[in-house]
Symmetry: C2
Subunit: 181 residues, 2 copies
DNA sequence: ACCACCATGTAAGTTGTTACATGATTTG
DNA sequence: CAAATCATGTAACAACTTACATGGTGGT
């Protein structure tokens, strides 16, 4: 699942403009790309030239015109193919753990302070995902199963946060007590 | 924590060649970069030109000579500075969840098959990290705290796998029973 | 007045990937 | 005899980021 398949997926849900896609991608954690113009507009052009998407220009009064993209049957076929590819294990980019890995030159106090501020960071992520569970009305809900899967995807992020918080707590206590000796 | 700080960290542990760094980085999940030559040798050159590392050429009989890099005091100072930067929340690249997000066009059976094969993938990751806990003799152990932190970093990956497996199990059962309706 | 939002796009740069080149030595 | 390991490095390309350009509308 790369960015173009993700865009195909989004468009298979409902027709969207490049600007819409940018907004959705840059706000989500699931679609982890930055959502910058350069990539999105370039991919849309490529998809369109490959006959996987088409667009209609929607003129608006007092606002710039927008190109609303939707998936062609060929696009749907390609997406389906991509969805059946063998799942890959997640890539976890936990830079904080790298920080800890080389923390030997830091004092206990400095390490504890880092753990606390990491905890704050994770808590705010957790709040974010919990909030997202409530206003999930803009999620795709084409079938009961899809509604369920989207809730489960959000749960996945919530559970990851909770596991991380437990890990932080245990690590913090042990260092504070010096009981690793 | 970017790749150059990571390399500084590795060299602050013990002097290493570019080839060593490449091996360590490409085998680890913690240091999530691919560990390709192009980046590593380029960064080593930059670090050296900035006076953050130095190298000694070690000639070997019947093997190519190697440049063994180590950190200078300036390099250590910069690393310490990087270690005290505000921790960032992890970036989770779970492409499988994106696959599920657009799985509406797949049958229940196809989704279940994907979940099973994702489970297999995660189990093998778990085994990998469990194994790594046993032969952790090549980890840095400059202090009891560092030994502890490296064990905890490995635990973090193990716990993430376990949480993922529980999530998979619950999702699988619910879809199999159709009890999301 | 200034900033944000809408909506498209481009330019310039950094980072990251795969593949190649060299060449001796060891392993299957 | 082919492949992998050791060890350095380069070339060509793909992916990604930040910033800019345009220009009207609406809010503080």
């Amino acid at each position: 699942m790369d960015l173009s398949s993700t865009i195909l997926g989004l468009l298979s849900w409902k027709p969207l403009s490049g600007y819409d896609l940018k907004g959705i991608i840059s706000e989500s954690d699931l679609f982890y790309w930055s959502g910058n113009n350069n990539q999105i507009y370039k991919i849309l052009l490529e998809l369109q030239q490959a006959g996987l998407v088409t667009f209609e220009v929607h003129e608006q009064e007092s606002l710039p015109a927008k190109k609303i993209y939707s998936v062609t049957p060929a696009g749907r076929a390609l997406l389906r193919h991509a969805l059946l590819e063998a799942p890959e294990a997640p890539e976890l980019h936990k830079t904080f753990l790298i920080q800890l890995a080389w923390a030997d030159s830091l004092t206990d106090d400095e390490v504890l302070k880092l753990l606390k501020s990491y905890e704050t960071e994770i808590i705010s992520r957790l709040e974010l995902h919990r909030g997202r569970a409530l206003r999930a009305d803009q999620n795709p809900k084409r079938s009961p199963r899809e509604t369920y899967l989207w809730r489960r995807i959000n749960d996945n992020f919530i559970e990851a946060c909770q596991t991380e918080l437990e890990w932080i707590g245990e690590t913090y206590r042990t260092i504070q007590e010096g009981s690793y000796q």
